[in-house]
């Protein structure tokens, strides 16, 4: 198909070149005709002029012979013109138009009959009266042979022909060169339009066209095509931390790995910033598609050197088979996308084959997003608060604000389900703003009602942290609600800090300058770096519930280390998910500062929290 297209283009440009040449030849032909006609007129005019001069000479010289009727002298005089190359005949008539003397050159009969009959080449005649001192004596008629004109025209025509031929050769050479340049430029434009300049792979447009073509081909033969959507898991981190040049280098290396891993017959294209497509065609066995995907995942798992940095470019892959999973190209793409989404949700660095229920999941996500937006605006979201207790005094020192979504039809929807949807759609920024404001208002209200200030911990999402205006939002909320900054505690996760280290540190310093405290949630679950811990201006560390759950039989090493580490950095430690008294005992002995969990209190609505606060305060007072 591609070569056929190229061949057709080649023919087109050849025909174009031929057309230009023909046009030039036609133009030269017209010019030659005009020049020949002009030359003909000029030659004829010259001949006429020469003939007129000769007639005048003869008329002048023949006068005396006419007057004295000396025919011999007249003949002799006329014969002196026998050397004229063109004079065919000269005849002298007397006053009565009776021939007096004549001279004939045999050459006039030598004119080819064919040309002789042409009016253009008919012999030329000039008549001139013979006079002497005003007396009319007769006339002289000269006839010229047009062979000279013919010869002149032939020579001139041959010269024009040669010149035209030379011009045509030059033109054809020049047009061939300019056409070649044009073809080259066209090919370059086409290349740019269809190729990704970073990886030299086909771009999105080219890939989609290839996919469409493959679908059309295999739909006829009942064959199968596999589509793999490959999305790099950490491209954004590399691009943001090491720069675009490093990002490009990473893409190039990923592209070459893809090329090396895929089968030679497969199409590979870059269809997005960090998204590649692999069209596996033909696909004899649907299971083969997953094997290709696994090979790609495995090959990308090998560390790469990018700008002196070691990067592990893991990828998530969504796979979909035509016509088993989808019958059209757009369906194939969106189903592969759904599978890719699932692969990302499953923790990345894996391959997920499309399944029907993914469409349902996608639809459910879309519905959730729609409802969430509507319910947020309608004020249907709720906050509840899980108390935090000091290990020593066992008194309530603070709460963590937790978002609840009581769906009118589906009941409470788990944050694990709707928070990713909110993060993906960007709705999390609005939600986060509402949560912060609500939490602050509630904390202030609680103080007014109970006379006790609680520390209010609010979770911050990565998306909010990227929002440049977030620090402003915090500041305005504190002012608007009358919340003392030191009572507010923002909880960050370490993974979001790693995403944009400089931005995160900048934000943390600004927030700390306001007086707001910071804690790191889920410490120990990600790629925690002790070095970073030193540079973060934080106040608390939270031990993840996954470590606490193991206590006290196992997991004591990690929990103990975290506590010691936090104290070493002068941080307080909060253990979450404390459910058993034995866990609490161990934590208390290990020096943990605060605990949070079902052992002490479940997350409570505001009213219940207030009641509990008043309740707990009573025995003290």
């Amino acid at each position: 198909m591609k070569t056929a297209l190229r061949r057709r283009q080649g023919e087109l440009s050849r025909m174009l070149g031929l057309g230009q040449l023909l046009a030039a030849a036609a133009a030269l032909g017209v010019a030659c005709c005009i020049l020949l006609a002009y030359q003909f007129v000029a030659l004829r005019r010259n001949l006429t002029d020469d003939l007129t001069v000769q007639a005048a000479i003869i008329a002048d010289n023949i006068a005396a012979t006419l007057m004295f009727r000396d025919q011999d002298a007249a003949h002799e005089m006329l014969r002196s013109f026998r050397h004229s190359p063109f004079l065919a005949a000269a005849t002298v008539y007397d006053r009565h138009d009776v021939e007096f003397a004549a001279y004939r050159n045999g050459a006039v009969d030598a004119t080819p009959a064919l040309l002789h009959d042409l009016p253009l080449f008919a012999p030329l005649s000039v008549a001139r009266p013979v006079r002497y001192h005003g007396m009319a004596l007769g006339r002289v008629v000269l006839t010229a042979d047009t062979g000279g004109i013919r010869g002149g025209l032939l020579r001139y025509g041959a010269l024009l022909g040669l010149a035209s031929l030379g011009a045509l050769v030059t033109t054809s050479l020049l047009t061939r060169r300019s056409n070649a340049r044009m073809r080259h430029a066209e090919a370059q434009l086409k290349h740019l339009a269809y190729t990704d300049t970073v990886t030299d792979l086909p771009n999105r447009r080219c890939t989609y066209e290839a996919l469409e073509l493959e679908i059309a081909t295999y739909a006829r033969t009942d064959g199968r095509i596999g589509l793999l959507l490959v999305d790099l898991d950490n491209f954004k981190v590399v691009n943001d931390t090491a720069g675009h040049a490093a990002g490009d280098r990473l893409l190039q290396q990923v592209a070459s790995r893809l090329r090396a891993t895929a089968r030679p017959s497969d199409h590979i294209g870059r269809i997005g910033g960090d998204e590649f497509a692999v069209i596996v065609a033909p696909l004899d066995d649907p299971a083969e598609l997953e094997r290709v995907g696994q090979r790609i995942v495995a090959s990308l798992r090998q560390p790469l050197q990018v700008e002196g940095m070691e990067v592990m470019p893991t990828a998530s892959i969504g796979a979909c088979v035509f016509p088993d999973d989808a019958r059209t190209m757009s369906e194939l793409l969106s189903n592969a996308d759904a599978a890719l989404y699932r692969a990302k949700a499953n923790g990345r660095d894996n391959v997920v084959l499309f399944e029907r229920e993914m469409i349902l999941a996608t639809q459910r996500r879309a519905r959730l997003e729609r409802d969430l937006r509507r319910h947020l605006e309608a004020g249907l979201l709720e906050l509840c608060y899980q108390p935090q207790y000091a290990c020593g005094s066992r008194s309530m020192v603070g709460v963590e604000a937790l978002l609840r979504w009581p769906h009118p039809e589906q009941g409470y929807i788990s944050p694990a389900e709707f928070i990713p949807v909110a993060e993906e759609s960007g709705l999390i920024v609005e939600i986060g703003k509402w949560v912060l404001e609500r939490a602050c208002l509630d904390a202030v209200a609680l103080y007014r009602q109970t006379g006790t200030w609680l520390s209010m911990a609010v979770n911050v999402s990565a998306r909010q942290l990227r929002d440049k205006d977030f620090i402003g939002i915090v500041e305005r909320t504190l002012l608007a609600t009358g919340m003392p900054p030191e009572r507010l505690e923002l909880e960050l996760t370490e993974s979001m800090l790693m995403e944009d280290m400089d931005g995160a540190i900048d934000f943390m310093h600004k927030v700390r300058a306001l007086g707001v405290r910071l804690s790191i949630d889920d410490f120990g679950t990600g790629y925690s770096s002790l070095a970073y811990l030193q540079t973060f201006p934080i106040n608390h560390l939270k031990i993840d519930r996954s470590f606490v759950r193991l206590l006290p039989t196992s997991g004591t090493t990690i929990a103990g280390a975290v506590i010691a580490l936090a104290h070493g950095f002068n941080l307080t430690v909060v253990a979450e998910g404390v459910e058993e008294p034995e866990q609490f005992d161990w934590l208390r002995q290990a020096g943990c500062d605060y605990v949070q969990g079902y052992l002490f209190a479940r997350p409570l609505p505001l009213a219940a929290l207030r009641a509990r606060m008043l309740d707990e305060r009573a025995p003290v007072t």
Partner: protein, 167 residues
């Protein structure tokens, strides 16, 4: 015998009203026309003269009527005027036509063209610048340029070219 056709052509060429109905035409008209034509190709010393061109002939000569018939015809702007050679004004002749045997003027004056009609003896053309001869039934003429030069006359080269002999 003189050819008739050239004669007719010549006379009509000069526009002369000659009666052509006569079957037998003498050579005299032709000779008169020749003499008239000689005048056309001759340059007289007094080139600016505008008066009549005086042609002197003997009234009893054979050419007289024919010469007479040309009276009034312009020769280079001068009217042809025939007069008796014996006339007192003969000294002012521009052309003198002598019969075959007539004696030439003893000393031809300057500016006088002497034409003799016929030769006395072969080679003897003394006293005449132009001598008309009949040669093989053609009228031809001989020119004596020395005689002409003596009279201050110059002939056109075209005339000289047509002469039978040029001395």
């Amino acid at each position: 015998m003189v050819r008739v056709l050239p004669l007719l052509a010549l006379l009509s060429g000069l526009g002369l009203a000659v009666s052509t109905c006569r079957a037998q035409v003498d050579g005299v008209d032709l000779k008169a026309a020749y003499i008239f034509n000689f005048a056309m190709f001759t340059t007289w010393p007094d080139a600016g003269a505008r008066g009549p061109l005086v042609v002197c002939a003997q009234p009893d000569g054979p050419l007289w009527p024919s010469l007479q018939a040309l009276n009034g015809r312009p020769v280079n702007g001068r009217p042809w005027s025939v007069t008796d050679v014996a006339h007192p004004k003969a000294a002012h002749c521009d052309i003198v036509v002598l019969a075959r045997t007539a004696q030439p003027p003893a000393l031809p004056a300057a500016g006088m063209l002497v034409v003799r009609d016929g030769v006395v003896r072969v080679g003897d053309m003394r006293g005449a610048a132009i001598t008309l001869v009949e040669d093989d039934e053609h009228i031809r003429f001989d020119i004596d340029t020395q005689e002409a030069a003596r009279c201050g006359l110059r002939f056109s080269s075209r005339l000289l070219r047509l002469a039978r002999n040029v001395l």
